[in-house]
């Protein structure tokens, strides 16, 4: 799919070639195909794309940040949407993108949550690229047909279905027992069972009274009762191995971000037929995360121009759709036509049109440091059936208040 070149913008012919060195961590098949759509578009606009793919988010972020601090910044680097670049903005190391955002009407077309996550003190400092939903039930349709029950849309239903699914000889919930997955699951329960209000009070306001309140207790109890739904091989399992269990009918449901869709597609399954995707408790909302590109302060007209062209094209409808189709995520622009995308993406887009239902993932709300501390608390609780709700509540509220 060719990106639409808007002819209203006249490109100044740079005396030397535009080079863009881009650091990112998209190395898997689908991911590199996605980033290639941006690279091709940049090339078509007269630039040279120097790809700096580094496997593993941590490694890529570390290397990029080290280069920025060391005075040898890349043209652009990938980060997760959220608080990862707070300090880079404070230290004046990132380029203010307001002029580009103005020209591309970013603010009018972005979901409010995403726009807020990309701005600091009212100015854009990041180009949001995609949206990944994080509270999905992915399920195997055949398994539910055999067990004679409807696929769940809430946690209460999932816990209820557990017994019937066990009787049918399948594992009700495929979970990779790694701490980040346990945290993702907990946050889905926090929203689905606790509700929007509790979710924001806990994560955004860090309100300790809410953590000690009844709604949060109910969240913890539900989460704890889900231990009965997983199998003994869960600890340490990778997320895609858990997805494979759903694909081959060993397990019924997986709670995962929509990156799991790629696995179902690779297995040749169609949504709403062999597998299904339900947003958990859609009335409460849709937890969204995603990726952004930031543009470090660089020297020289040629580099600044390369950044302008890159940031501009990344936020245009054509390249947005092309990229996100390959990536399995959904576009960040609310005004693009997604009728060509799959059923799951359309469900997500429909929810996003209402700003009340755009729920920021915890990465938007808490610092990486506190997010990590919460993750430690959650994984301790999940793996310790003997831990009481009170103990966990204390652990969680301590983690919420840790740090400087």
């Amino acid at each position: 799919m060719a990106g639409c070149l808007s002819l209203s913008i006249a490109f100044p012919v740079a005396a030397e070639e535009m080079k863009a060195e881009v650091i990112h961590w998209w190395t898997s098949g689908g991911e590199s195909a996605a980033i290639k759509t941006f690279a091709d578009e940049f090339t078509a606009r007269g630039g040279t794309w120097i790809d700096q793919a580094i496997a593993g988010g941590e490694n890529a972020r570390t290397q990029g940040i080290n280069r920025i601090i060391g005075g040898n910044p890349p043209t652009a680097m990938q980060l997760n949407t959220g608080k990862q670049f707070d300090e880079l903005v404070e230290a004046d190391l990132l380029r203010n993108l307001d002029d580009i955002a103005e020209a591309g009407h970013w603010r009018d077309n972005l979901p409010k949550v995403i726009a807020d996550a990309a701005t600091r003190n009212g100015s854009f400092y990041a180009a949001p690229i995609n949206i990944h939903g994080q509270n999905w039930f992915f399920y195997n349709a055949e398994v539910f047909a055999n067990a004679g029950i409807e696929p769940p849309t809430t946690f209460a239903e999932l816990v209820e279905d557990g017994k019937a699914l066990r009787d049918a000889g399948v594992i009700p919930l495929a979970l990779g027992g790694q701490s980040w997955q346990e945290r993702l699951t907990f946050n889905a329960v926090l929203l689905g069972v606790g509700g929007r209000d509790t979710y924001f009070k806990v994560l955004r306001d860090k309100d300790v009274d809410t953590v000690h309140g009844d709604a949060f207790r109910k969240v913890v109890e539900t989460y704890g009762s889900m231990r009965d739904l997983v199998d003994e091989g869960s600890p340490g399992r990778n997320w895609n191995d858990a997805t494979a269990m759903v694909i081959n009918g060993k397990a019924a449901v997986q709670i995962m971000g929509d990156w799991a869709k790629g696995e179902f597609i690779a297995a040749g399954m169609t949504p709403d037929k062999e597998y299904g995707c339900n947003i958990i408790s859609p009335d409460e909302g849709f937890i969204i995360g995603g990726d952004v590109f930031v543009f470090p302060v660089v020297e020289g007209d040629e580099q600044n121009e390369a950044q302008r062209v890159l940031a501009t094209l990344m936020m245009e409808p054509g390249p947005q759709v092309a990229f996100n189709e390959k990536k399995g995520s959904i576009p960040v622009l609310l005004n693009v036509d997604v009728s060509g995308m799959d059923v799951c993406a359309q469900k997500a887009m429909a929810l996003l049109q209402n700003s009340d239902q755009q729920i920021p993932s915890s990465d938007f709300l808490v610092s990486p440091d506190i997010g990590g501390a919460l993750q430690d608390a959650i994984t301790q609780f999940w793996n310790a059936p003997e831990m009481s709700v009170d103990e966990f509540v204390d652990l969680y509220s301590d983690a919420l208040q840790s740090g400087f």
Binding site: D86, E232, G233, P235, G236, P368, G372
Partner: protein
Amino acid sequence: MPTASPGAGRKSARSIRWRRQLPATMALLPAAIIVVVAYIGCMVWTVRLSFTSSKLLPKFDWVGLGQYQRLFANERFIVSIENLFIFGTLFIAGSLVLGFLLAVFIDQRIRAEGVFRTIYLYPHALSFIVTGLVWRWFLNPTYGLQEMVRNMGFETFTFDWIVSREMAIYTIVVAAIWQASGLVMAILLAGLRGIDQEIWKAVKVDGIPIWRVYWSVILPMLKPMVVTATVLLSLAVVKVYDIVVAMTQGGPGISTEVPAKFVMDHLFNRANVGLAMACATVMLLAVVVVISPWLYHQYGPRNRDKRA
């Protein structure tokens, strides 16, 4: 080293020695400067940062012992330290014992010695990431050893250490011993090969039982090799990180967390340089406390003349 008669020519001997050592000293000077600047500099930098509130970027404010308070209130850090002791003790002891037994076995002038040596050393040639992954598959109850034995008809067979909070750390110990004992074997075998055959003849004549010979005669002669092996293993203990990441990722829960992983996670993933550096400083202190007695013993005043 020929020395002049005691007392009289001491001073001249020292100046001659100094002059003789000058070229060597000059040659080593650049390396020494790099060591001092890079290593000592980095250590000072690390310790200094542990007293700041640095998050993603280093900054040089002063929060006193704040990071240390946070560190010692952190359950994950406490578990990491406990695990380091469990792992360290069992891993060093296990590798030394197994390595020694393998070395003794090979030293019996067996046939196809080269084959055995290669087999024992092979695990050490693999990275811990590969080793860890293989062990993880092997130990996984749903498709590893447990499943295999159950499929053979032993329905009640259970071997689920790796998914159990109490036992998971011991699976890491086992995998690490499997990997390191070959190296210990190689070091001790070299020592055994250096032992004079006359000694064996002598103990044969005296009719001393073989285990007694190894325990009371041979082992004391191997002391330098045992010390070398122990130091190498100790370094591996402090650094232990990759095998945990490959096998359990610190799980189930936080039951197999180790200090090096605490540092790495907080440094990179959690943008918390201050806390990571506080943990690194505690590790540094622990290393200093452990190796000081040994350094003193090796290079202390008592030994200086002996080695001259």
